[in-house]
Symmetry: C2
Subunit: 329 residues, 2 copies
């Protein structure tokens, strides 16, 4: 295992310390937790948005904390759901009296623990709603999940629900936007290499020097096809076509070409070129494109493609100001 | 070689196409070149800033094109200097009548080719100045360079000279700021793994499973020490102390903890934690911190640390608006 760490059992603590040290004017840590919140939290009268999950997906989710996006991120151990009490601390730290929306990626542990936290918060008089993101079209029911997994499309939920909350909308309205994004976003990924959870010390799976896996999850869950490495154009085509088969994207979309951790930006742009060509062929208009590392899987090499179908409301929310360091608009 | 590409000899073309496709409202390509410029170039009456070099360091340099930063980036073949005629095309495309500053990383090929382009441009009546960035304290004279190499500290030259140019300053004033940044910035890096140039197909060097190299260049040039992998704290200490030995950073600084391509953001934050502790011990105040991938080396795992000594003028320029996608302020 080649990693720049001190202690494999201390990586989340060290990361949170380094993250808050880097952003002293915009972030703060809830003492004795791995919960990171906006420095000005709670924002009185604004609906707050909380996300999180296992660590190892940086910049998800703490990089999305900021005006116009998230109020808090709960950082679990690597690829491990945060406990309900940590999520509860996040909810309590950011509730400004207008309620809290939890944005949960669909993994069984996350769903259970965030739901339990919501119940605990409600017992303390805080209004909590939740949305579950399940954008990954690759597989139904995988290692850690019932139904479809939540992957990079989650970033659009953060962004658009965050913009709605910043506009002064009610909890019900913010939740409704989040649900609309979930309904309109689809993603799929592929991997060239596995990654290693620090505390485990060895890769979670193996791929031969000439192999790739299509439909891989962001924790190394099996995909739909393990085969020889294809060209960038073939990979882009496989991912995009599977997404387009799943939902009617006719009209206008946002595109996210996401790197999983070790993929050079050069390769992501090469994939993007083909995604644009494929969508142009289908007459689908691209409103905005995002290329980079938004939802990673430690040092996994690979990428995912996400499409979000847009209408006028969603375009306006996508364009609204965001001061989150990992998603500045 | 595991890469998401179509043709190893076509990666720069495909990348530039995908990059411009992703940013249609802010970027344009100079036809029949690998030169990318601001969509609104030339900006009349503004000093223009041109950088570039071999590709493979993304987001350097095209990600730094935007209001408040670069006007053009010249994308050479991977790890290969762009030719003088390409640099000349960039200069011609962005000159708004106030002259052009070339920001050159100190590699012999880049220096020669950018200087030749400057001469050609001057023959066409365009006023051109240049600065050479040589922030890497690791070694004097390495594989491709006489003197010290230019690495991640270059980003600060782009940012601060870009801000000065955006303020309406003269070419002489912009050059003077760039020179001040060069004089005040120092960097050093380390690698856990090599990277593979697509057209070469095999890694440029080898490191054993338990080895790292300190002082490695961003093209895999040898460093000062190849040894067993140390802890994050030891790595941060080695890099930071060598930088501090080289220049008097007492006062206030900006910190850049840069990932080389395959290093999880988690590890960069762990390094940042220690860098902050080391600077606090020395009584050096941190004005701003940047953590992420700013100057990469394809899929190399590793990081670099850069420090920039600040005064009131440099702080103001660092804080000025930048709309470059890879350095939004």
């Amino acid at each position: 295992m080649k990693k720049i760490i001190n202690d494999a059992n201390q990586v989340v603590q060290d990361m949170v310390d380094g993250l808050v040290a880097a952003n002293p004017t915009t972030l703060k840590q809830v003492p004795e937790t791995f919960v990171v919140v906006r420095k000005d939290a709670p924002v009185k009268g604004k609906v707050a948005i909380v996300s999180g999950g296992g660590s190892g997906h940086e910049p998800a989710h703490a990089g999305y904390i900021g005006k116009g996006m998230l109020d808090a991120a709960v950082c679990g151990e690597v690829f491990t759901s945060p406990t309900p009490d940590q999520v509860l601390e996040a909810i309590k730290a950011v509730d400004g009296g207008a309620g809290v929306l939890l944005v949960i990626k669909n993994y069984t542990g996350d769903v259970l623990n965030f739901e339990m936290a919501a119940e605990l918060a409600e017992m303390e008089g805080i209004q909590v709603e939740k949305v579950i993101v399940n954008d990954d079209v690759a597989v139904e029911d995988s290692s850690f999940t019932t139904g479809r997994r939540g992957i990079a499309g989650t970033i659009f939920v953060h962004k658009l629900a965050g913009a709605k909350a910043a506009s002064g909308a009610s909890l019900e309205e913010v939740k409704s936007v989040a649900e609309k994004v979930v309904a309109n976003v689809r993603s799929m990924g592929m991997a060239l290499t596995p990654c290693t959870v620090p505390a485990a010390g060895t890769p979670s799976f193996q791929l031969a020097e000439d192999e790739m896996e299509i439909g891989m999850g962001i924790h190394g869950e099996p995909g739909i096809n393990c085969g020889l490495i294809a060209s960038a154009d073939e990979i882009a085509t496989t991912l995009t076509e599977k997404i387009l088969e799943d939902y009617d994207f006719s009209g206008e979309v946002a595109v996210l070409v996401n790197g999983l951790g070790a993929t050079p930006e050069m390769e992501l742009y090469i994939v993007n070129k083909k995604v644009h060509a494929l969508l142009a062929d289908k007459g689908i208009r691209i409103y905005k494109t995002f290329v980079g590392e938004y939802m990673t899987s430690l040092e996994m090499a690979g990428c995912s493609v996400s499409l979000l179908k847009l209408d006028e409301e969603l375009k306006e929310l996508l364009d609204a100001e965001s001061l989150a360091p990992a998603f500045r608009i």
